[in-house]
């Protein structure tokens, strides 16, 4: 077992744990914005980290065409890594603009900055 294989397995397990935490947060958190945070934990921690893990697993294992598998999962990971925060930003922005979500801030830095 090479170092890359072990590291990849660790990342996959870590991704599973992140997914579990994201799911619990999505069910238990009080309002939309904090739930959105939990959902992003689920996508970054639960999809990007295991995808990088899979690419390391493939590099560490000895099966044929492993570079194709490693490259494909790495590229998919990079795309999700870019897209998930942008999607969360767009969702939060749209929810804030349209005012469909209940909004009871303790501090509102945006309003202070706009003053």
């Amino acid at each position: 077992m090479s170092v890359a294989f072990l590291l990849g397995a660790f990342l996959v397990v870590l991704g599973g744990i992140c997914d579990l935490f994201g799911a619990i947060g999505l069910l238990k958190f009080p309002n939309f914005y904090v739930r959105l945070h939990a959902a992003t934990v689920g996508t970054i921690g639960g999809a990007v980290v295991p995808l990088f893990g899979v690419s390391m697993l493939a590099l560490g294992a000895g099966f044929p065409h492993r570079y194709a598998v490693a490259g494909a999962s790495f590229i998919t990971g990079v795309i999700v890594l870019l897209v998930a925060p942008a999607g969360a930003t767009a969702l939060a922005y749209a929810a804030h603009r349209s005012g469909v979500v209940e909004w009871k801030p303790k501090v509102d830095h945006l309003r202070e900055a706009r003053k």
Binding site: A68, I75, I79, T89, A90, Y93, A94
Partner: protein, 252 residues
Amino acid sequence: MKRLAGLIIVLLIVLTVSCYVSRMVPPQKNLHPLGEFYLQNSYFGRYSAKSPEAVTSIVWDYRGVDTLFETAVFFLAIIGSLTLFRLNKGQAEEAKRGEPKLELPGPVATVTKVTVAMILAVSASIALHGQLTPGGGFQGGSALAVAPLLIIAVYTKYALEKNGLDKTRAIIIRSIGLLGIALTALVPLLLGGYIMQNQPIFPAKALGVPLGGSLVFYNFFEYLAVGAGFTAVFLLLSIPEEKFRKFLGVRR
């Protein structure tokens, strides 16, 4: 607490049964006759597709006519939606009039630009490697159609039309794809084969890479046709509702 106990019991039972069953099933040493048939007819045989990706060679080679009719059904559906949204010349001009404007925060726009380029590359690789790896024309085309959809969502449809990809061009690209599929199916007839014949007629390899004979042509043209067809429908669906109310003469 009671629910948790039930959950744990169910989990334990499932784990035990799966461990027990996985020990009972011995690892497969020989090929099934069915698997041998598929390998023989997708890669090794003289009249096979010479493609290591068995699914693509089934779909486009020895079940090819079925796929041809599936493609026809999909394109009839697209033609149906195009007819539903039929506009005359003035109305089409009116539907295109508008300024692209960005209503989302800056980082979203930057990420969209980067992602659209990546989607184009990834979808092309899905379609053009369809004879080597899982994937193919329809899958690649569907991935390609995500790129204009993202641009419509972030920059509005006018940005797409200002940069030259309007409904007419999308339909032209789609027709080129369809024509390509039809020609690839008909070429063997000219060379003395039967319709949609693959192997001795189309080249099996180029520069050492397996091409799968006609599979690469079918995948490429299907990629163009599906991507452009979806793009045309998305462009029509993103026409604002007020404009349609005006065209149809609806009063509130």
